[in-house]
Amino acid sequence: MLNCIDNSGAAVVECVKVFRSKRAAKIGDRIIVVVQKQRNFGPESGPGGSVSISAANKVRRGDIRHAVVVRTAKQLQRPDGSVVKFDDNACVLINKGGEPIGTRLNGLVGKELRDKKWSKILSLAPMHL
């Protein structure tokens, strides 16, 4: 179970497969997820209220989508010896071509995305560490 930190409409997703790996996913790994919980934009999105709820949610509960892991609670060692650990696991939904589904991210992402050529997600993120 991971948090989804983009505005595609998913809030909590479940990982069902890690691409090209038999181990647990790390930051920058591509995974397949099932959307478990939808984000409700109702009262929170005051200014963006013109868009109806169904249109704002690009994905629905039960959808199978691709995603990229951007934060892990498991500590990750960098080449310089420092170690990063986040409090939660989070991902960003992407389509099969690798473009992010959402248009905005809220929350910081790991810097490892740059090495794995996810610069589009990095540019959307408000902060990377």
Partner: protein, 231 residues
């Protein structure tokens, strides 16, 4: 031995005869043992004695004996600490980093303090120090902060060439009663983002620096004036 047994019972004396035969055999064995005892081998036997008989100094080559190498314990009592010392002297020539985390130093950075680590590549990272892992050259600190409402923890090697500087932003008022403040991960004890404290500290630093620079400038001006006056 005669067998005084009745012909009506032919096996009646069998037990008796058998016993007699056994006793005779025992006597024979005893004889053997005594005979052996008489012919005992040479006393004070030593295997070197055989060699000593045909020892010829002319035929034997003298084998050079090399003394054993000097024991490492006599050359260097504690090699690991020596290596650590040499590495630290390379990576921390001024000794400031060592002093900052030295246990003998009262003014050292302790757990619970808010530290700011400036790195060569990337933004500086500030956070509460949860743990100091003192392992010689691998000495590292664990900092915790909250960025965009997500808790982040980072380990930094204090002697790493990537780390430019470590500053103490704020000290803990009370001494922490634990060596490792992992309880601060719990939401009940989490102090949240330290961004405001760090920003305030940086502003103060800038102020004091500028004032220092001004005073220095003023002093130099005075000196110049004095010189001019004296001249």
């Amino acid at each position: 031995m005669s067998t005084p047994c009745a012909p009506a019972r032919p096996l009646a004396g069998l037990k008796h005869t058998l016993r007699q035969i056994r006793s005779e055999r025992r006597v024979q064995q005893r004889c053997y043992a005594t005979a052996q005892k008489e012919t005992m081998p040479i006393q004070n036997f030593h295997p070197g004695a055989i060699m000593r008989g045909n020892h010829k100094p002319d035929n034997m080559k003298r084998i050079p004996v090399i003394p054993p190498p000097k024991s490492a314990t006599t050359v260097c009592k504690d090699p690991i600490s020596a290596v650590t010392q040499s590495q630290i002297s390379v990576l921390d020539p001024t000794g400031a980093r060592t002093r900052l985390f030295d246990k003998a130093n009262i003014e050292r950075a302790k757990v619970g303090d808010i530290l700011l680590v400036r790195t060569k590549n990337g933004d500086p990272f500030a956070g509460v120090c949860l743990n100091v892992r003192r392992v010689g050259i691998d000495t590292a600190i664990l900092l915790r902060n909250q960025l965009t409402r997500v808790g982040v923890e980072m380990w930094f090697k204090i002697y790493s060439p990537n780390v430019e500087g470590i500053e103490v932003v704020q000290r803990k008022e009370k001494r922490a009663r634990r060596a490792k403040l992992y309880y601060m991960r719990q939401p009940r004890h989490d102090i949240g983002s330290v961004e405001n404290i760090v920003r305030q500290y940086q502003r103060q630093r800038a102020m004091t620096r500028s004032s220092e620079a001004k005073s220095r400038d003023a002093n130099s001006h005075k000196k110049k004036n004095n010189k001019r006056g004296s001249n």
